[in-house]
Amino acid sequence: MPIGRGTSTTFTRGLGVAAVVSLAAVALFGLVLSPPDVIQGESVRILYVHVGTVWVAYVAFIVTAVSSAAYLWRRTRSLVWDRIAGASAEIGVLFMAVTLFAGSLWGRLSWGTFWVWDARVTTTAFLFISYVGYLAVRDLGGSHEQRARRSAVVALLAVLEIPLVHFSVRLWRSVHQDASVADRTTDVELDGLMLFTLALSTVAFTLVYVWYVLHRQRVLAMEDALDDKGLDLALAERRSEAVGQKGVR
């Protein structure tokens, strides 16, 4: 990806538009058209943000893991994979943050507190922290290959926590059954329109995700290219550093 040209193409522009539109639609359905829930009441509308983002975040992390594997595998080794992994993880973390936020708001409404030590809630927090750690590993510095190799390993391990989160409700003898019960019941009792809205929100977030990853991955490519440009200047300076001078002056 040569420097100078922007990161958007007709395709990504179309994608962007589609994302915005679908988000608007989600707002419409989520806030107006879809009915309140029998148990949850109006607060159920949070569900569309809460669950939509989680699922897309899952997808993002899985993509990160897959492209990390692709990087580690010698035959397909290329920094493109590393950049995709990085971009995907970034927005994954973003969505996860939204999930946590929406979730705790919802918790305030339905459990009366922002935070409970429910298994899923906690494991989600861990998953979130893991990928924050992943991003930390990414900007440890060092060469691009170094960054790619280190972070790929972390990504492949961190992704294993997703099943843990998903099945945590069953794994963990939670003192807060009510929470995960709520999870289930609402699932069961979602009426058609709610289901549709949930699906719609998931689609919308997916569009946003794809749009972001495409752009971000190109930006990262440019940054790497830029590093090399900077290196040229530094090289010239370094080589001239010595001429005619004595010691380290």
Binding site: G141, S143, L231, R238, R239, A242, V243, K246, V248
Partner: protein, 233 residues
Amino acid sequence: MESAAVSTGSPPDSGRLPVVELDDAVAVLGSFPALAGVTLTVQAGEIVLLRGPNGAGKTTLLRLCAGLLPLARGTGSVVGCDLSTQRDVVRTRVGLLGHANGLYHDLTVRENVQFWGATVRASAEEVDASLDRLGLAGRLADVVVGRLSAGQKRRTALACLVARRARLWLLDEPHAGLDAAGRDELDDTLRAAVASGATVMVASHELERAGGLATRIVDLVGGHVARPGNEGS
């Protein structure tokens, strides 16, 4: 001028492929290009002395040749392995003595040498031999390294290197801290190593010492080779 290095640098019998071959190699520390395009060829059996002011890039060059740093630009091969793709192989064939000694301070001198020897399945005799080479055979062999004097630590590090029997020896200021006797022992050690088919690159400021030993002197300045040097210069 670097390209010249290849020609002038290589000894008459250019039939064998060189042990170290760098072409415009660049190595980056953080964001700083400590090596800014080094072109250098070292043939088997040479003892190359790397010379240059503080910060010239000697340590960086040695670490690059040891496969500890990635090649940011240019091409290079060491002991026949490509530096961009086969650094893991390179590492298994070189021996490096850095500014740090790389010793386990809670183990005795002998235990340290034994450990490094064991990595290449060295026999007990060979271990004792390497201890003896560096004059550590006596009382010192069983003193915990952490208690040794600076020079004694340096000797131990050298003994570990000897025990490892590498094909390419990379030494970063090996004289530092050694007394007169130790420096003679070091010279003998390097001669013996070359005699047994190894190749040596030494970075040092002790020109009087190392100069006599070296078959070639390479001047590094500002991360590049100022003078590739000729045979026996």
